[in-house]
Symmetry: C2
Subunit: 150 residues, 2 copies
C-alpha cells in the first residue's frame, strides 16, 4: 500500500470515529470517538461516556480497548490500530500501552491533556503514532461543543 492509499484508509476509519464523536455530542458528552481496526476489520467502536456513566474512566479509548479485547478474546492488541478523534490523555495512553496497541492514529492534538507532552513514553515502544488525520473536523466538533456549553 502506498502512502496515499494508507492516508485514505486512515481517513475512512477516522470518519467512523468522528461518527462516534457525533453520537457523544448528541448525548451531551465531550465529543470524542474511537474505533479499533484489526487487519482491515473493525472490531470495536465507542465514544466518551463519562457523563452518562458518572465515571471519569469512561473515555472513548478505554471503552473501545475493553470492547476490542472482548471481541478477540485476549488482552493484547498488537495487530490493531486505534483511531481516535482527540489525542489520548495520560490515562488512555497508559491503557494503550498496556494493550500493546501497534498503531495509534489521532485527529487533533490536545495541548492541555495529551499524552505526548505529559507522558511521552506511555505507549508500547514499538507502537507507531500518526496525528492530524481529519484534524479540522476533529477539532471543530470539540470547539462546537464547548462553545454551546458556555
Amino acid at each position: 500500500m502506498n502512502i496515499e492509499q494508507l492516508k485514505s484508509k486512515d481517513e475512512y476509519y477516522m470518519r467512523l470515529a468522528l461518527l462516534e464523536a457525533e453520537t457523544a455530542y448528541t448525548e451531551g458528552e465531550i465529543p470524542v470517538g474511537a474505533v479499533i481496526v484489526c487487519r482491515d476489520r473493525i472490531i470495536a467502536r465507542a465514544h466518551n461516556l463519562t457523563e452518562t456513566l458518572h465515571d471519569v474512566t469512561a473515555h472513548a479509548e478505554m471503552q473501545v480497548i475493553t470492547m476490542a479485547a472482548n471481541e478477540i478474546g485476549g488482552k493484547y492488541l498488537q495487530d490493531c490500530t486505534l483511531y481516535v478523534t482527540l489525542e489520548p490523555c495520560i490515562m488512555c495512553a497508559g491503557a494503550i500501552g498496556w494493550a500493546q496497541l501497534g498503531r495509534v492514529v489521532y485527529g487533533c492534538a490536545d495541548e492541555r491533556r495529551g499524552f505526548s507532552v505529559h507522558a511521552p513514553q506511555a505507549l508500547h515502544p514499538k507502537a507507531s503514532v500518526v496525528s492530524g488525520i481529519l484534524e479540522n473536523e476533529c477539532r471543530n466538533i470539540m470547539l462546537r461543543f464547548f462553545r454551546e456549553k458556555r
Copy 2:
C-alpha cells in the same frame, strides 16, 4: 489528629487494601488491592482483575474509582483517599487525576511502571501523596506471586 494517629489510620486502611491483594493472589491475578475512603467511611474496595476479565484496563485502582463514583453518585472524589498496595501506573494515575482524588497512599514503589517516574504530573495539582505504608508486606506479596509464576 497527630502524625502517629494518621499513620496508624493509613496502616489500617492499607491492611484492607492488602486483603484485596490477597484475594487477587488467590485468583491468579497480579496481587494489587485498593480501597477508597471518604471521611472515614470505606466506600469502595477492589483488586486487580486483568486476567479474569481479559482486560488491561481492569487494574485495582480503575475498578475502585468506578465503584466509588457509583457509590457517591458523582464523578469527583476530592474528599477521598485512595489506598493502593502498589504505586499506580500511568493509566491509573491519569484516572486518579481525572477523579481529582485528594489523597493517594501507596504501599511499595513500582520502579518500572510507576507514575512518579513516567508521568509525575498525572495527579491533580492539589493531591497529596504518601508512600511506603506497609511497604514490605505490599512488596512481599508481589515477590511471592512472581516467584511462583516462574
